[in-house]
Amino acid sequence: MTWMVWRQHRTEVVALAIFVSVIATALVVLGRPMHALFPAGSAHCLTPPLDLTCRFAQARLTQDYGYSTIVLILLNFAPYAIGGFLGAPLLARELEAGTWQLAWTQAVPRRRWLAVKVMVLGTVSVLLVAGLSAVIGWYRQPLDLLGGFDITGFDLTGIAPMAYTLFAFALGVAAGAVLRRSLPAAAGAFVLFLAVRFTVAGWIRPHFRMPVTRIDAFVPGSGDLTDGTSNVRDMILSQGFIDAGGRHITGLGAVILEGKAREQGGDPTVYLHDHGIQRWVVFQPIARYWPFQLIETVTFAGLAVLLLALVFWRIRRTAF
């Protein structure tokens, strides 16, 4: 049976291994000059005060490596590309070609057949993504300076990418069982994968835990209007000013207010301070990276298990 899994899926597995190696090699090639900007490592540049090397490197990073954000965003498709590519044809191809009738009348009960395939191919896809995610983790290390509690960092590192892969794999298998053809199954699984990932990353993740709200008074005469938090890696949900009456001023209102403060001439912090206006920011601190990784992983792994359980239940009594 294991021989059979290898024989049937070796083309995809080899293709994916090549795909992962090519991306990994490219990341190493692109990442080396970026790492060279930080001869002493980039970690000490994360917390102020920044020394000259850090400031210089940060400027270079923004200027020369701005494209890396796009690279990182695109890498979010890798878990689907790997998990879905192995998952979607698992059942669909057998159903398409009618070979399920051949496979399931050998002396391997079909639930065992499915269990072996899911175990082997699920493990392969998770391992491929684990390898890729390790390389991505190395590549984007200096980019922490530009943030990363988002889809350019959080979603690509840690343990969550493996759970995404498992989810994509399970989605592919389930879509194959329902749609019975590889291509529609892959397409359907892709759409669902994106929908769930966007929903969780965009709307649910910011509320995994109660966000932290911080209100700071302006120090008159400091000239310091910088927004955000003290750590560039925090996930900022909302920020702006808060006036003496406790009203939040964000977006355009904040821009207008800041313009007004600058118009007074001299230090805008004095104007803001005098009017009782304070800095206001709501965020998830980067210290919550691991708890959030854990919640995300459990969510997606749980969805994957649920989908696979449905597929097992589906083939238990009735074949297709």
Partner: protein, 293 residues
């Protein structure tokens, strides 16, 4: 204790989402025989075959293969059944040798040498890709795979339908050879009646998802007669033994099921051919089923 029949179904029924594909179907396959399952497209043949290989579980009634339900999907029951599905599906990218290795890796008993011998005899190269073989060769490879399992029950779904006459003959020869070799019961479906007599000794006819006729072919042929006589106005529903009645201007032709009962004067009795017999049963409308029992 007597050995259980190769296949026994009791009032088995299978309902898909909306409609019953098969209903109240009871039959028994004596071991060591070749049984043909005949019926028009959509009569429920494939459903019945899938039920008997455990690919489907029945909605109602029971299916037993050598006394065990194939729907349990146990290794033991799966080892005893081979199934050759319609259009003999194979992994097209596999070489023939790969397919044999697949058989070996997924079965406890798999007579690899037997399969190699059969395929070599037929001149099928083990290095050939399954997808590149002709339809006849593919069916032979599928049959060799099925037989190498050394099954006790071989189930074939329309094995002959897509084969040219020569391939058909070769296929039948292989099949007959396997039956002669050992302890093998064969059930195959077909909608071509003409070639059945050569291959099989039992017949099950299904229509509208129900069994309309079953029995040993020789016995069935002996039981039925075609009577030709002067035109009458008999209603065929009036008599349980009249299967079909046709009137022409002057004559009435009846197919009757009544062993050797004497016939009326002026009537002539002729033996019936197998396809004529099957077609007569298939032509009967759905509401006749109850009368057949």
């Amino acid at each position: 204790m007597t050995t259980p029949p190769a296949l026994r179904t009791r009032n088995v029924g299978k309902r898909y989402r909306r409609a019953w594909a098969l209903r109240n179907c009871s039959l028994e396959l004596p071991p060591g025989r070749v049984t043909a399952l005949v019926g028009p497209n959509g009569a429920g043949k494939t459903t019945l075959l899938r039920l008997s290989t455990g690919l489907l579980a029945p909605t109602a009634g029971s299916v037993e293969v050598f006394g065990e339900s194939p729907a349990t999907n146990s290794v033991r029951v799966l080892s005893r059944i081979s199934f050759l599905a319609q259009d003999h599906p194979l992994y097209r990218h596999f070489s023939v040798a790969d397919l044999l290795r697949f058989g070996r890796s997924c079965n406890i008993r798999f007579d690899h040498d037997l399969a190699v011998r059969r395929l070599t005899q037929l001149g099928i190269s083990l290095d050939a890709r399954a997808g590149r073989l002709s339809g006849g060769q593919q069916s032979q490879v599928a049959l060799a795979l099925a037989l190498a399992k050394r099954p006790n029950l071989l189930v074939l779904d329309e094995p002959l339908s897509r084969l040219d006459p020569l391939a058909r003959q070769e296929f039948q020869q292989t099949l007959m050879g396997a039956v002669a070799d050992g302890d093998l019961t064969v059930l195959f479906s077909s909608h071509a009646v003409d070639e059945l007599e050569r291959v099989c000794d039992h017949l099950v006819v299904i229509n509208y998802g129900r069994v309309v006729l079953r029995g040993e072919i020789d016995a069935l042929l002996a039981e039925h007669r075609v009577l030709v006589g002067p035109r009458v106005r008999t209603d065929p529903r009036g008599s349980r033994s009249v299967i079909e009645i046709k009137h022409s201007d002057r004559h009435t032709t009846m197919l009757v099921r009544q062993g050797a009962a004497p016939i009326m004067p002026g009537w002539q009795a002729n033996p019936v051919g197998l396809d004529e017999l099957v077609l007569a049963y298939l032509r009967r409308p759905a509401d006749h089923e109850e009368q057949i029992a």
